[in-house]
Symmetry: C2
Subunit: 519 residues, 2 copies
């Protein structure tokens, strides 16, 4: 197999670096599959071109025009779907099902934002809320409006979703009217690179609307300025570094962070062995723990189970997890592939050692002794003391590992336990007891960006808590980074400046247009 | 005159410090008027009491209940109005008119949020936007909701608006259901202290809903945790310090910053000598520059004037400014008092020296030679080179000083010049040319939180660009801090967590309530 050279797309042309290239591996075989090098690429010029050429072109388009671009991007990605899936199997260690999850997520998100944008119509103005009289005179009118920010939208993306991770940020930024500079994680950048190639060649994007940094970012972030937006998905440690950058602080550069998250599943006290709710939980928990080999920011890390049900849950969930075949992700009968990189494998091993301090291991799947590749067994832990298990509540093990935490079945206790994670992206509730659900949701909501409520009534219709939907916000408070992406128009506003207009009513209404930004 | 001792209100009781007290002066006479000391006050316990006792009590109330509290706070402040105005004349160096501006701003903002809250009714749930089907089945429903954050809302306020600055933050936080810990600038804390005394005694606030730190904050900020919100108004330098705090970064503590701002006024090319628009501009510019002795975050610092009109504007504005009497703010015929502190006076002098590098001084009011007090003359500058005047565009002189910057009359040029300030709270446009207004607003909006459009049609109805209204957002991008306060419900959401609910439609709708949060 040839080793592919990943290029960058800057200033409207493809460029390769002239230094020491990073090597990208197939995590199943550890063979080299591609190289990435950005040395010598002028990141300042790349950003300036995006801002000046791309930004101007995008702002000249209406929302409907930009929506058409997104639709085209969705179509182009769909056309390249099979190639991208195969690439992700090779460069991500993903099963075909995992790779589809990523690629189809990208296609669907671009299409969803194309739909949203189309509804905004042939306008460039976006009103926020209703206008209103500011004083006693009906002449003096107030109206909030959104304008595209004048800089570039810079994305630092995680290794786990090279297609979807890009698409969810790009759909929002492009619809807002901001050009995109995308910097995927180098280790799995081959999928992102190939997707970008197709988009650049076939999606009809205006010059400068899309740039791609295929490898190290160099001094890219040093050039960020007041009108740029930085959107980051990845570790809390990297998020910390971005937040303390002097230009980010001094220029109040808008920064969206989506970082670590100790996501929770909560089983209600009404749930019994053999119930539809429990069967739904088992199906979704097993999938959520092992999809993408547990390398999902939304994957469950803590499972709160009423004490009386704990042994049954361990037995039944263990049986399901034990039936998942680990191996070559290219095989159709493989249920879980390797971790994406050697570094991730080391991190998961380190995390497991930390969990051992607070929890007993109650299930371990068969390993792949002697095989090459970054494989790790599926593991289930049981916390020894629910309230005093600091590693269980605060250390995210980014792999196929979760901990069962017994609790009393009290909804407020469940909320407090979820809160020990100090903020997460998603928590889910499995119950058919409406009073429990309402109280538990109230107790959990301040700690989480999304609450997924599962039970018998929706068992046939759900997609599991791990799936990020374009119309629901994705992000969470505290440890999860305090950011928000997606959520329909909510994610678009992140790339716009809100301004309060005050003045003579007909003039203000003329500027604001008549189109309100429905979320 | 007796020297008053400012106390703190923590853990539901009044407390005084046991260390070296800070001294508060009358900026007109330089006499000591009060002392403030917080040494020995346990800030950790103060915060914990607010969170646990105050937060719980406020969350148990409905929006309507909380609105009633705000209404009561407005009434209590109104009853103390005369005392607070007199206090601000003595401890702030404010004219009575300036003091009224602050105190009436507080009363009006509390009342406006009481009105808003009343409309939300007898509910604790707040829906964000419309619900919608998440997939093909109408059963699986998505709805965003807001919940009060579970921590305390901590305010670090500026010296210039001891009443209003507190009220605009407190109205939003309390309506959201968060307890308030208010830390005013020590130098002018006497007004804030007396207002707090009245509120604590007469507004019927639940225990823990309001705390007051009368002096240095000690280690207050070290105790901030993930569910707290920090709202800051003040210098960019202090904002910088808050942003780089390790707990703020590591716990993604929500932080709203409102900092320096080089606010602009733009005169359109249609404006002629003798026109109503010019007369409105002259009235508002003179007021804006000198109200509160120029110590307003919204005060104009840069005035963009079509080149042909510059000499006339300098002559006419200078004549108006020259007619303003500077002196003892307690006198009824005084138009402008001293700066609030000696440090502010030094800062203004330093700023003037910086402006001299880029601009010529074209007007200086008569000074008060030999008098005591922190007086500074009113000054008008004229930039030598509009585009290359770095101090004019980026150094905020927080006093009665502004710079006239000639420009071509082109609306996009005006936008670019406003943008050299790298983000501001408010910019205003004086013009009756609709095409100019629309283009200038479009060019300015991405750089500013509020655009105030003035012209003949609203000349009788405006309040000037410097007035912050509860229903329009107050904040700005970049140098202005990147934050947002007020703006109706927009400011309330800052103290709440947005959560996407996903589940069976009747259950989700039951949790979300039927009340949508209209902005």
């Amino acid at each position: 197999m040839t080793v592919e050279t990943i290029e960058s797309y800057v200033e409207g042309r493809w460029a390769t670096g002239k230094g020491q290239a990073a090597k990208l591996a197939n995590p199943t075989t550890e063979a080299e599959v591609a190289t990435a090098d950005t040395h010598g690429i002028d990141m300042g010029k790349a950003l300036a071109f995006a801002r000046e050429t791309g930004g101007k072109a995008l702002r000249a388009l209406t929302f409907k025009d930009r929506a058409e671009l997104l639709f085209k991007m969705s179509q182009v990605t769909h056309k390249a779907r099979e190639e991208l899936i195969e690439t992700e199997v090779v460069n991500g260690g993903c099963t075909r099902s995992d790779a589809k999850f990523d690629v189809d997520g990208a296609i669907g998100t671009l299409a969803a934002y194309a739909d949203l944008g189309k509804k905004l119509g042939d306008t460039r103005a976006l009103a926020d809320g209703e206008g209103l009289a500011l004083g006693r005179s009906p002449r003096l009118w107030g109206q909030h409006v959104y304008s595209p920010k004048l800089g570039a939208a810079v994305f630092i993306n995680a290794f786990n979703f090279p297609a979807w991770g890009f698409a969810e940020k790009a759909a929002c930024a492009l619809l807002a009217g901001m050009p995109v500079v995308s910097k995927p994680a180098t280790a799995t950048a081959l999928t992102a690179y190939r997707m970008t190639k197709h988009l650049v060649e076939h999606a009809g994007l205006p010059a400068g609307a899309m740039s791609f940094i295929g490898g190290a970012p160099g001094d890219l972030l040093d050039h960020l300025d007041v009108q740029d937006v930085l959107a980051f998905t990845g570790s809390a440690a990297t998020g910390h570094k971005l937040r303390t950058r002097s230009n980010v602080i001094e220029r109040s550069i808008r920064l969206n962070v989506e970082a670590d998250s100790l996501n929770a599943m909560v089983i209600g006290p009404d749930v019994e062995v053999g119930s539809e709710a429990l069967s739904l939980f088992l199906r979704e928990a097993a999938k959520d723990m092992t999809q993408k080999t547990g390398q999902k920011c939304t994957a469950v890390r803590r499972i709160f189970v009423p004490a009386a049900l704990v042994d049954d849950v361990i037995a039944e969930l263990g049986a399901r997890l034990g039936a998942i075949k680990i191996g070559d992700p290219a095989s159709n009968d493989t249920g879980m592939g390797p971790l994406a990189t050697k570094a991730q494998l080391e991190e998961v091993k380190r995390g497991v050692a930390l969990l051992e301090k607070d929890a007993d291991r109650v299930f371990t799947s068969e390993g792949l002794a002697g095989a090459s590749g970054y494989f790790h067994p599926i593991m289930l832990f049981r916390a020894r003391d629910p309230k005093s298990a600091p590693h269980v509540h605060t250390h995210e093990v980014f792999g196929p590992v979760a901990t069962i935490v017994p609790y009393s079945g009290d909804p407020e206790e469940a909320g407090a336990l979820v809160g020990l994670g100090q903020g997460c992206l998603v928590s889910s509730i499995y119950s058919d007891d409406r009073a429990f659900i309402e109280r538990a949701t109230g107790a959990i909501a301040p700690w989480t960006g999304r609450v997924y409520i599962a039970g018998a009534k929706v068992a046939e219709h759900t997609m599991g808590p791990g799936t990020v939907l374009p119309l629901s916000v994705h992000g969470g408070p505290g440890r999860a980074g305090g950011g928000e992406e997606l959520g329909g128009m909510r994610g678009v506003f992140h790339f716009m400046q809100r301004t309060a207009l005050q003045g003579y009513r007909p003039i203000v209404e003329g500027i604001a247009g008549i189109k309100a930004a429905s979320t």
